[in-house]
């Protein structure tokens, strides 16, 4: 059954029809061609599909597209503003927080939301905040460093 939805994604409004069963992650990738949101599992475990819904980090494979009707969605493609990288993006590059890049969008989306609630986290708090995001390349070491650097940059910017 087709359902009409209207979603704002990265500041742009999209209106279209989706099947009831279509996951938000599939809608973003297949219907909107926003392929920066990755799908790494089928159990909502890996976090590669993490996006922001109304500013809050959500695994987009845990939501149906119809549930996003009327929501503000930000994906990794919307993290940079006016061509300027988000401090989180800069920090992942500076601290070598990515290797293959597949988990990276989800990591950054989780981490940016986390820093909103905890702008000055301890290393342990960062590690715990990443429990829902898997990375197989980095051993998480430099992801933690990246988030620490981003926290520093973002607190200095305030």
């Amino acid at each position: 059954m087709a359902n009409k939805i209207s979603v704002t994604v990265n500041g742009k409004q999209y209106t279209g029809e989706v099947e009831s069963r279509t996951l938000l992650s599939d809608y973003l990738r297949e219907d909107l061609s926003l392929t920066g949101t990755h799908i790494g599992c089928d159990t909502s475990s890996c976090g590669a599909c993490t996006i922001h819904i109304d500013g809050k980090a959500v695994k987009s494979c845990t939501m149906l597209a119809v549930q996003a009707d009327g929501c503000e969605v930000t994906t990794v493609e919307g993290l940079a503003t006016n061509g300027n990288l988000h401090p989180m993006q800069e920090s992942f590059k500076e601290e070598h927080g990515l290797q293959c890049g597949f988990c990276t969008p989800g990591m950054m989306m989780t981490a940016t939301d986390f820093l909103k609630t905890n702008p000055n986290p301890s290393e342990q708090e960062i590690r715990e905040a990443l429990e829902g995001n898997f990375c197989r390349c980095t051993g998480y070491h430099n992801i933690v460093r990246s988030i620490q650097l981003a926290a520093k940059k973002m607190s200095e910017a305030v």
Binding site: R21, T35, S45, A48, K93, L98, C135, R136
Partner: protein, 788 residues
Amino acid sequence: MTKYIGKSVKRVEDKRFITGQGKYTDDIKMPGMVYAYILRSPYAHATVNSINIDAAKSAEGVVAIYTGADIPEAIAGVPCGWQVNFKNGDIMKEPPHPLLVRKKVRHVGDGVAIIIADTRANAKDASELVDVDYDLHDAVTDPKAAAQPGAPLVHADAPNNIAFDWQLGNPKEEVAAALASAAHVTELDFVNQRMIPNAMEPRSAIGHYDTAYDKYTLYTSTQNPHLTRLLMCAFVLGLPEHKVRVVGPDVGGGFGSKIFHYIEEALVVWCSKQIELPIKWTCDRSEAFLTDAHGRDHVTNAKMGFDADGKIVALQANTFANMGAYLSTFAPAVPTYLHGTLLQGLYTTPKINVDVTATFTHTNAVDAYRGAGRPEATFLLERLIDLAALEMEMDPTELRFKNFIPAFDGVEQEGYVTQVALQYDSGNYAPVLTRALEMVGYEAFREEQKNQKGDKLLGIGFSTYVEACGIAPSAVVGALGARAGLFESAQVRVQPTGKVSVYTGSHSHGQGHETTFAQVVADRMGIPLEDVEIIHGDSDSVAFGMGTYGSRSLAVGGSAIVKSIDKVLEKGAKIAAHLLEASTDDLDYAEGKWTVKGTDKSVGFGDVSLTAYVPHNYPEGLEPGLDFSSFYDPANFTYPFGAHVAIVEIDKETGFTKLKRFIAVDDVGNVINPMIVDGQIHGGLAQGIGQAMLEGAIYDETGQLINGSYMDYCMPRADDFPSFEVDRTVTPCPHNPLGVKGAGEAGCIGSTPAVVNAVIDALWKGGHKVKDVKMPMTPERVWTAMQG
């Protein structure tokens, strides 16, 4: 003079990944694209009586359905790329691995039918309407049990399920005699459990037959597009290689699992010819668990003998290695030439024999997983030596120092010839352990451990390793059974404006080649890094390639690039000499220009490049252009080494083990980009520690993979690890131009036994003298070990 080499240059590839613009196979869409779903066997061992696709065929959106019966007989299946012979000289058993099974399924996940529809969801829906009638049979999953009389047979023509048996080293009788007269023998039975690689990007493949050009394209999440093309064209589908393009675009991690040529790749290509539409197949994570080639799975008995002074006198290793239901591309090499050959370790052991029996079981295929054989060898050696130290009441580091091979640089001193068929290139083993001990604060730790009271046990575990990478000299591996060469190719194309495009047969799937290789090129050519572009992964642009695995990219692929650069500069010098009216012998090349020695007369790289393509004023007889290809076949493997140390704290009440510190000192030869090398080590450590503490595939007796999802298989998470403490020593490789050895697998090879040894050390200090705790060392297993 280096401007870039040795510097932590930030990665040039990062921008596309951090902005969500990476292009992985599943991100590619083509007009008219349809989607494939593969119906797989839910049973480990069954006869397929019939497959009824009638209902599925008329389901919504279905374009085509194929079963094994539809695939021509001539397409027997995917081949194995490495041949190991039985001890008696017979060729290994090599039953076909069909694209879709016809009569018998041999593991859960064996492909039965491919359903192609307009959407992925419709293909999946239709698959539920396919009716397969199975007759179930008993299954065997354990590699040792499979070889026992009466075990269910995986293939009728492989008696006792034995794919091959193999041995290497000194005669068994000599080893047995040395063990019999040893002052102490440490014996250990252990399992190196089956691992699931779990690259974060699930495998994906797009087959596209283009009717206009009569040409096939395969996009696939692969570590080696050219080898996939060769295998698929020559040994599976019988396609003309020049009419097939294979592209490995951005690939989300591999760790070995994306080296191999998989049935799905050949299937989407074959099907796309049948229906003349592009077909995409992307596996679910659950399918990845069932069908990505697994790793390890050895059942081993090993004995290490010592004289009264603690010198190792002999080693006997007997291993059953699980091949799974079919021989995957490099599977036979893993327990043999990548495992048995490493059992010298970094010790002077004078007598070594290794005996391997490789068996078929009703499980998914096992092949190379990060380290591939070398982690198993390191685990064997390092568990034995640490346990021996406990048994002999010696310090485990002192026991190692006593047995290390003395330093040799491979130039002044010959490379070390082992008892197991290798000659190490260069090594200086004591300093890595010495440095690791400094970082640990070893004496202080032992004090702390001695004074430890209360509800926790403290333990420290060591692992010192040597590995073989930079694979490999083609003639050598050919003699050992490889059905391919293991050289690498590189083309350095200087554009008329002096910008440089480099085409490499290495494939980056996280390793950062676009940066590291560019550092090498920019420094060697004396040009800015921004003027260099590294191109890889597309068989239509890169002449040839053997791909990336075995920590080979820089040592082999990088060396091929250096060869091409040398040719460019040699020709450039001729052009420069002509322009400067000087002899090439009178020129120096530095910082991007040729200068006549002792003068200020010079010509820049850019001018020479332009002259090569606008050859008006040009040396007589010299061809225009500045574009060279090279193939580099290494003279030897490279042999990185290192010392890893784990410190653990065990909760006496629960058995919960916390990894408190992990120290790794690795020597990977010269380092081009320290940031990237550290990153490779970190990732390897996490996988090695994951094996020790968290991960492991579990098949039940019926052959069901009972932890085949992220809800069940314990993937390492960020809060499972402390910050890693890493350092390096540098012992250059003497036989390649960059002096590099390779860093991709070291972390995974060294770390696993260090963690287990730390737990055993803690248990012994707590009065529980157990020899082993099975991996993964869950709280339950550690707690049980404390009850004895």
